[in-house]
């Protein structure tokens, strides 16, 4: 846990956001402006403003029920936002479906694991590679050369991606039969297979022991460094968040209560209050 990950300086960008200094000459990969959604008149998320740099590891934290997963669902268009805009790589995702958002560059994992549990590990990754190794339906039915070629490519890519987590030997196993930690890792691999420019991880360390978490932290940084993508994660494990995240956003009751570097967040009285409650007047 004592391992130190280098932290860049966060610098402001237009629209009151901050991103790491090294990404500042490029436009942010994601920019949310006044994002909000109501469920039956109740505002679940409101006025959510955030930018993520091209190679940033960002954290989204907050107490249970703060609306963190809802933000992910908004970003991936599982829910259509009631208000605000999401700019992904400079493109408004307003009219996109979940699948189109994925093709435009956002991949995600789920809090309650959503694998294709009856399919093999390799097939799970291959489904992630759906738009990477594409060939038409009839080519598959008639077994045309493009089928054989693309299937071979998909197979090799799948094994290569699985090797990030050293899972290539599990390729033939049924996904649902894997141990919990491996299922979480497989979900990350599947998300990476869609070649995202922004990877959303919903509680990647949930249910992991400290040594597994430490390994996961290394791997998240490794993924960012290898693929040069941005990663945004929801996590309750503060060691992980403070260890690898460069910019952190704290959500409470659907609103951002603080934004900044790990050090700033740790010292922020509003955050402490949200997590620990109000200090009693003496």
């Amino acid at each position: 846990m004592s391992k130190q990950y280098p932290k860049p300086k966060l610098v402001p960008v237009p629209s009151t956001n901050i991103i790491p200094e090294r990404d500042v000459d490029k436009s942010p990969i994601l920019e949310c402006r006044h994002l909000g959604i109501d469920f039956g008149g109740l505002s679940a998320v409101s006025d959510f403003n955030m930018a993520i740099g091209r190679t940033e590891i960002a954290g989204l934290i907050g107490p249970n029920g703060a609306g963190k997963t809802t933000v992910f669902n908004l970003l991936t268009k599982v829910y259509q936002p009631t208000r605000g805009t999401i700019m992904l790589d400079g493109r408004d995702t307003h009219s996109m479906t979940t699948a189109q958002v994925n093709r435009a560059g956002i991949a995600r994992t789920f809090q309650n694991i959503r694998l294709f549990s009856k399919l093999s590990v390799e097939d799970n990754v291959k489904i992630g590679l759906h738009n990477q190794a594409a060939y038409p339906m009839w080519s598959g039915i008639l077994r045309l050369p493009s089928y054989w070629h693309k299937e071979k490519v998909a197979h090799e890519m799948a094994l290569e991606l699985l090797s990030i987590f050293d899972m290539q030997d599990l390729a033939d196993h049924q996904a649902g039969s894997l141990p919990y930690g491996a299922q979480r890792r497989l979900e990350i691999v599947r998300a990476l297979a869609t070649a995202p420019s922004l990877l959303l991880l919903d509680e990647p360390a949930a249910g992991m022991n400290p040594s597994e978490t430490a390994e996961l932290m290394d791997n998240i940084v490794k993924i960012r460094d290898t693929f040069q993508i941005a990663i945004m994660l929801i996590e309750h494990d503060m060691n992980l968040v403070m260890g690898i995240c460069e910019g952190i956003c704290v959500l409470n009751f659907g609103k951002i209560i603080a934004k900044g570097t790990p050090a700033e967040i740790q010292a922020n009285p509003a955050v402490i209050e949200a997590y620990l409650g109000k200090k009693k007047e003496a």
Binding site: T69, N73, V78
Partner: protein, 292 residues
């Protein structure tokens, strides 16, 4: 006047659909299953009443009551033997089992009572003739519409106010949580089947009074249509079943009268498809978003 006559016939048919649809919608709301055998319970109810009043010379009221008792028991037995063991099974398995039960009832009826159609004697005869004979309303029609209204009112009160009704609503929302709150889920579901089947018996008698041909397959098409009525109105919703049933009956009669007798079923189903496409959860159904 023929227009008014058609409206009345439509409301009458719609009331029958509504009573059948109530059975579907209650069972679906609580057990989350399509009880395809429901239509055949109607047929059994009609047969019981037919033999009670015809062969044994019972008073029609006694005949209806007997039919209700038999169908209630039948419904609970079917639930206990065929559906209860499948509480945890995938919905497709339950659906296929329900189809098996439907076949079982139809073929048992055929063995017991023969395939030849029987002419059902209406429980009440005669009718009102107003506007100098231009508008005829049979007593069966009046009885049907009145029964439907009474059943609706009683059922709404029962589900809305009573302890059992509260248990039913709890079960339809979340069976696990209901169980933890001390509600006996099994007996609640059993009770739902009992009520639905008793209603089916009434519907059977009323339907065969209005359309007096009784065969082992009598219940299947009205069953399917009443089921679409339930979906039409929003399955799981009691007022939805009422509205859906009435609308479906009126659409069917109007299609028969003004478009084509042969195509009336097609028009009814087309209306259903259109409603579902515009409002995927039916007219009065609640849209439940998927949890992520």
């Amino acid at each position: 006047m023929s227009f008014l006559n058609n409206v009345i016939t439509g409301i009458s048919l719609g009331s029958i659909y509504a009573i059948i649809a109530l059975g579907y919608t209650m069972v679906y709301g609580i057990a989350k299953m399509l009880n395809f055998a429901h239509g055949d319970v109607i047929m059994v109810g009609a047969y019981v009443c037919f033999f009670a009043t015809g062969s044994f010379g019972l008073h029609p009221v006694a005949g209806v009551l007997l039919a209700m008792v038999v169908c209630t028991i039948l419904g609970m037995v079917i639930e206990g033997l065929a559906y209860k063991p499948l509480r945890q099974a995938p919905s497709l398995a339950v659906l296929i089992t329900a189809i098996g039960v439907s076949w079982f009832l139809q073929n048992s009826a055929q063995l017991l009572w023969g395939a030849a159609p029987k002419v059902f004697t209406p429980v009440v005869s005669g009718g009102l003739s107003i506007f100098g004979g231009q508008l005829n309303i049979s007593y069966v029609t009046i009885l049907t519409v009145a029964s439907c209204l009474v059943i609706m009112a009683v059922l709404s009160a029962f589900i809305g106010k009573g302890k059992m009704g509260k248990a039913m609503r709890a079960c339809s929302e979340d069976k696990g949580a209901a169980q933890l709150m001390g509600i006996n889920v099994n007996s609640t579901i059993s009770m739902t089947f009992a009520i639905g089947s008793a209603l089916a018996a009434i519907a059977g008698v009323l339907m065969c009074s209005a359309y007096p041909t009784l065969m082992p397959t009598t219940g299947s098409l009205p069953g399917i249509k009443a089921f679409t009525a339930a979906v039409f109105g929003g399955i799981g919703s009691v007022p939805g079943a009422f509205v859906g049933g009435l609308l479906l009956g009126i659409i069917e009669i109007f299609a028969k009268a003004y478009i084509s007798t042969d195509l009336s079923d097609a028009i009814v189903f087309l209306a259903l498809i259109i409603v579902l496409l515009v409002k995927p959860s039916g007219l009065l159904g609640k849209y439940v978003p998927e949890k992520v």
